[in-house]
């Protein structure tokens, strides 16, 4: 009854083109934002921030980035971990080289640097396609991780080879370093996620997003109707790497605080983010969020269930998580190749007809 286009008259082009055409969706959107910004920060504690909210927000940014490249533009990338590492190390170098500048600027610049690196590694995509490209992006993954391990300039010649985030403040609150309040951690990630999602959503609705999708559906046909593949593919790589770089910077500076590159940004990370967008739904911003939420919540929930309630040993539960995540990936690819986002779409379709479906 509530979920209807009917009766919601659009009287201007802006109203007709808005992101959420249904009034209920608009209210829901503002309610979600209000809860996220005004309610959760006051209730959050250390455990919830570290185990669920902060990793969810950061991975959601990475998932949006990868989804732009893989879901919208059809270029499968296994280099996400490497690009996150670029973001993290760029942020670290900027933080230590310009200690007086705001960290927000550093994080955005780190995203920009990652975008440049991502574009460079995207160049071969003009000739290499499909999973040849997926394997080629592995070169980025392994080369970048090796580079940050070997060249000591990147970690300021520290003896341990680790990078540690110095304490930085935004509006008087510490957002990095050991004295950060969980709410501050949460809020800075939330602000970045909200902005990234907004930008991504609007990019994918416009000309550039359409040219990505044309390339994804069939690149030769797209070229014939006048889409410039060079421009489309490279912008996809750039925008995607920009988001992934931001998430890498946040992952290092805000979430972990200290990072060893092989451990934090290894190939496993690339797969994790890829799984998020498969489960969430390729080619959907909501799907990126849903997939990230699912893959963050699922291991925590399974651990609570099996270790705390059933009393099983931890290593056993870790193996089960591997098995279940693998099984879920296959299940989703068979039963619902469009992921959680498709379930959401179907639910909305049903809601429109409720309570009188035909």
């Amino acid at each position: 009854m509530l979920y209807r286009e009917a009766g919601d008259f659009k009287t201007s082009y802006e109203a007709d083109n808005q992101t959420f055409p249904i009034a209920f969706d608009r209210y829901r959107y503002w309610v979600v934002l209000a809860v996220a910004f005004l309610v959760i920060p006051f209730m959050i504690n250390d455990y919830w921030a570290n185990a669920i909210f902060v990793p969810f927000l950061i991975y959601a940014i990475a998932a949006i980035g990868l989804n732009i490249l893989t879901g919208y533009c059809g270029q499968v990338s296994l280099g996400t971990g490497g690009f996150m590492a670029v973001g993290a190390y760029a942020c670290y170098k900027l933080m230590t080289a310009f200690p007086d500048t705001s960290i927000v600027i550093h994080i955005v610049l780190a995203g920009g640097i990652t975008a440049a690196v991502g574009t460079a590694f995207g160049l071969p995509s003009l000739r290499i396609k499909g999973f040849y490209l997926a394997v080629a992006t592995l070169a980025a993954q392994f080369f970048l991780v090796w580079l940050f391990n070997k060249v000591s300039w990147f970690y300021n010649y520290s003896a341990s080879g680790q990078i540690n985030a110095p304490e930085r403040f935004v509006a008087g609150f510490a957002v990095t370093g050991p004295n950060t309040a969980p709410a501050a951690q949460y809020l800075i990630c939330l602000v970045f996620l909200t902005l990234c999602a907004l930008i991504a959503r609007n990019l994918t609705r416009g000309t550039i997003g359409r040219s990505w999708m044309a390339i994804r559906d069939m690149d030769i046909a797209a070229e014939i109707i006048g889409v410039n593949p060079l421009k489309a593919k490279l912008t996809a790589f750039a925008v995607s790497s920009f988001f992934i770089g931001i998430s890498g910077a946040l992952f290092f500076a805000v979430y972990l605080g200290a990072v060893e590159v092989g451990e934090a940004f290894g190939i496993q990370k690339s797969f994790l983010v890829l799984f998020m967008i498969i489960i969430g739904g390729l080619g959907s911003i909501f799907g990126s969020l849903a997939g990230a939420a699912f893959l963050i919540l699922f291991p925590v929930a399974w651990k609570v269930l099996a270790v705390d309630l059933l009393g099983w040993p931890t290593d056993l539960v870790v193996h089960q998580q591997f098995m279940l995540i693998g099984a879920l990936i296959m299940f989703f690819l068979i039963k619902e190749p469009h992921g959680l986002a498709q379930l959401w779409r179907l639910a909305k379709e049903k809601l429109r007809l409720w309570p009188f479906p035909y």
Binding site: A139, M323, L333
Partner: protein, 332 residues
Amino acid sequence: MSADFLYGIEVIINGLMAGVLYALVALGFVLIFKASGIFNYAQGVMALFAALTLVGIMEGQVPFAHLLNAIFGTDIHHFGWEVPALLAIFLTVLVMVAFAWAVQHFVFRHLVGQEPIILFMATIGLAYFLEGVGDLMWGSDIKTIALGLPQGGSFWVEDMTASLGGDDFYGFFIDKLDMVATVVAIVLVISLIAFAQYTKQGRAMRAVADDHQAALSVGISLNYIWVLVWSLAGIVAMVAGIMWGAKSGVQFSLSLIALKALPVLMLGGFTSIPGAIVGGLIIGVGEKLFEYTIGAPFLGGATENWFAYMLALIFLVFRPQGLFGERIIERV
């Protein structure tokens, strides 16, 4: 001859041997890819799983003992017997065939006609699943394969070649295990080619590789052929698993050799068995030689981690279909 030059030759020989092992893994990929168009990322994990199963059977471990103990509060670990190596290998082959059937029946039968990239992602899921199952079944501790394969350097080769150089040259150091692996790989490749060329099943396999629908129309069961190629890939994986496992212990890192096989395939082309072998040798020699001449002296070492991918990347830009791959023709 100067010692540096001789060491260079030694590096090349060792690279060739490593390349043979890469080729062995790549072979499993090519088999499945040719017959079903599935790019099987799980090949490396299959090698790990097969090696784990082999060790588990030989030592008489109870499968899923850890899980059973946690659920029922029991304390079981071993049956208390030891299985002889040959019987254990045979049983492992049976397990891999059962696995092939299960994969075909529960997963890929439902994905027929999907885009290649979807199939690829499904095999990544399969890799995670199999890794979890392997650990659950046999535990995740590092195991050693006690098949009685020779270990260590070969003194015979060292003594034979010591006279080539001056006083500071002690002969080529070549691992006996690598030599065995090379022989096994060659035998395996020859028997696979013979199987594909001269048996009825092999002919059916090639027919499916050429054209699914034409093969169906002359009465070849696609399901049967797919189970067959997955079984063959499982057996190849087992051999690779034994060789790598004997070299570095049966552990998680074994599954990463699949990643190393990817650039091998890109060089050789996904559809060519000779390509897989030549690609493996190029990568093996290339990365050892690069590490020896440029990586270790100038770049701080450990370049083996990425050199293969970079080589493949640069190579592909100039020849997107690989060395022996079929020419890619694109139509709207």
